[in-house]
């Protein structure tokens, strides 16, 4: 069903158009003397609002342990296929014996990333976050592919309170082992 929008017939001054232009020019003239609204970028930096979606990064838990388990859900969900993960098993570590799996390689191609944040949304381990970082530059394409080391460097540690592996350990020590 097409929806027809009735148009008001134009008045004479609207049809002559020049008065309309003059009215417009009044507006632009006022803007000419209005104060600037932009920010002097390198000196002034915007306050990053919470929930800002900057460069995706990998984070560690408060004890500095790798959180990502290379489930590849982010790789799966990423609309422009920017993420590439090589999963692999990891050695038992005393503080998280159940991990078993972690990324051997984790690349995010920032030339493809569209900052949609779906990777953060989907991550079951809360290991990938789009943080404050918003400037990004490089001389080659390869420089803009963030590898695992770079991602952890950018990501740092997030003070979340899940301590998943500590809970596992506590359960094991509690005696619920076989």
């Amino acid at each position: 069903m097409p929806y027809v929008v009735e148009r008001k017939p134009l008045t004479l001054s609207e049809r002559i158009y020049l008065p309309q232009i003059l009215a417009g020019m009044r507006v632009t003239l006022r803007r000419l003397f209005a104060p600037n609204v932009t920010m002097e970028y390198p000196e002034q930096r915007p306050a990053i609002p919470t929930g800002y979606r900057g460069v995706p990064t990998l984070v560690k838990d408060p004890h500095g342990r790798e959180k990502c388990v290379s489930c590849q859900l982010c790789e799966f969900v990423c609309p422009p296929k920017a993420i590439r993960i090589t999963p692999g098993s990891v050695e038992d570590q005393p503080d998280r014996t159940h991990v078993e799996k972690g990324p051997q390689a984790f690349d995010i191609d920032m030339l493809r990333c569209i900052y949609c944040g779906l990777c953060q949304e989907v991550c079951p381990e809360e290991a990938i976050f789009l943080q404050n970082q918003y400037t990004l530059s490089g001389y080659t394409r390869a420089e803009l592919v963030n590898d695992k080391a770079k991602l952890y460097e950018l990501g740092g540690t997030l003070p979340d309170q899940h301590f998943k592996w500590d809970k596992k350990k506590a359960a094991a020590e509690h005696g619920n082992t076989h």
């Binding site: 232009i21 020019m25 632009t28 803007r31 600037n36």
Partner: protein, 380 residues
């Protein structure tokens, strides 16, 4: 003083012409650059941002107060110029090289040539007679302006065609169609002015200087407003400025005729565009806004008398140039002002406006003033 004048008159006419030509180039190129800077600043301010304000050569950074010039972006002017000259100038493989190189030159020629026939000031000679300041005081004045400046369209057509790619080609086509369409209304709109200037009994003239002289009283803009408006609108179209920049149309034509151009070749097109703007504004001021006459009913000669400048031809000349340029620069600003107010017309709207609105209006206007003048004359 007189020595300078004598030296000048003693020079070979050819040498004189060369010096005049160099002067035109020496003025118009920096002027084009300055206009582009003004354009960037005005655009920025209208859009609520500071505009270019970063460039500062390090060797003058110590000068106190230089910061203001920096904020005004003055050094961007030089940076832009330097960039134009030194940046890589790619020539796509698919273009027709000869015409591709020719087009910007063809664009510059009419732009620089017309400057020479536009009077930009006047002074009183010993005899107390007004003498125009103009590089070539031609009797055909306005005709020379129209004839030469309309050659500018060939540059666009040539550029569009020689680029051998679709967008430039469309841009060239649009440019030619639009410029031809508006040329008509433009010419018709100035005819009433010359009808009035050439009152029967006088010796017929098309000189722009005479037009200014005829505006010692009321300016033509005041009592021929329709002529002025039609001329102004056509002027926008002729200079390819928004809302008529069909030939460029960066949204739909990726830059139109100059899509394939870069560096100084591209720069030449822009100097030409700004020269056209300046000449167009100048001609408008001369025809409708009293030229160097400071106010309606206040001719320059009277001002000279009040200020005791009748015997100071150089000072008076500078004053007249100032008044004239002031008016012309306002029009340059108007061009920019309109650019950020009115969105680009659709191509069919441009054509419709040219042929169905402006042309009949210009003809009706011409008839009206012709009859009016005839009626006034029969009354006398």
């Amino acid at each position: 003083m007189t020595a300078v004048i004598e030296l000048w008159s003693g020079l070979h006419p050819l040498l004189q012409a060369v010096i005049k030509g160099l002067a035109v180039i020496g003025v118009m190129f920096p002027f084009g650059g300055a206009c582009s800077l003004i354009e960037r600043k005005v655009s920025a301010w209208m859009q609520g941002r500071p505009g270019p304000n970063r460039a500062l050569p390090f060797w003058v950074a110590w000068v106190p107060g230089i910061g203001l010039l920096q904020r005004l972006g003055v050094f961007h002017l030089m940076a832009d110029g330097g960039k134009m000259f030194f940046k890589e100038d790619p020539v796509p493989g698919h273009v027709n090289k000869f015409y591709f190189y020719l087009a910007p030159v063809v664009g510059m020629i009419p732009a620089l040539t017309t400057v020479t026939v536009v009077p930009f000031g006047a002074y009183l000679n010993e005899a107390g007679k007004m003498v125009p300041l103009v590089l070539a005081n031609l009797d055909v004045g306005i005709l020379a302006v129209f004839a030469v400046s309309s050659l500018g369209v060939y540059a666009l057509i040539l550029a569009g065609w020689a680029s051998n790619s679709k967008y430039p080609f469309l841009g060239g086509i649009r440019a030619s169609a639009q410029l031809i369409s508006y040329e008509l209304s433009m010419t018709l709109s100035v005819l009433p002015v010359f009808l009035w200037v050439n009152v029967p009994g006088g010796n017929g003239t098309l000189s722009l200087f005479d037009v200014v002289s005829a505006q010692n009283g009321a300016w033509f803009g005041l009592w021929m407003p329709l002529s002025a408006i039609v001329f102004l609108v056509a002027l926008f179209a002729e200079t390819n400025r928004l809302p008529f920049d069909m030939a460029e149309g960066e949204a739909d034509l990726v830059g139109g005729f100059h899509t394939e151009y870069g560096a100084m070749k591209w720069g030449l097109f822009f100097v030409a565009e700004y020269s056209h703007m300046l000449i167009g504004s100048g001609v408008f001021v001369l025809l409708f806004l009293g030229g160097w006459n400071p106010l309606p009913w206040v001719p320059l000669a009277d001002v000279a008398v009040w200020l005791h400048l009748t015997t100071q031809p150089i000072l008076l000349g500078l004053l007249s140039i100032g008044i004239f340029l002031g008016k012309a620069l306002f029009f340059i600003f108007l061009f920019m002002w309109v650019r950020w107010t009115v969105p680009r017309f659709r191509y069919d709207q441009v054509m419709k406006l040219g042929w169905q609105k402006l042309l009949p209006l210009a003809i009706a206007n011409l008839l009206f003033y012709a009859l009016l003048i005839a009626w006034i004359q029969t009354r006398n």
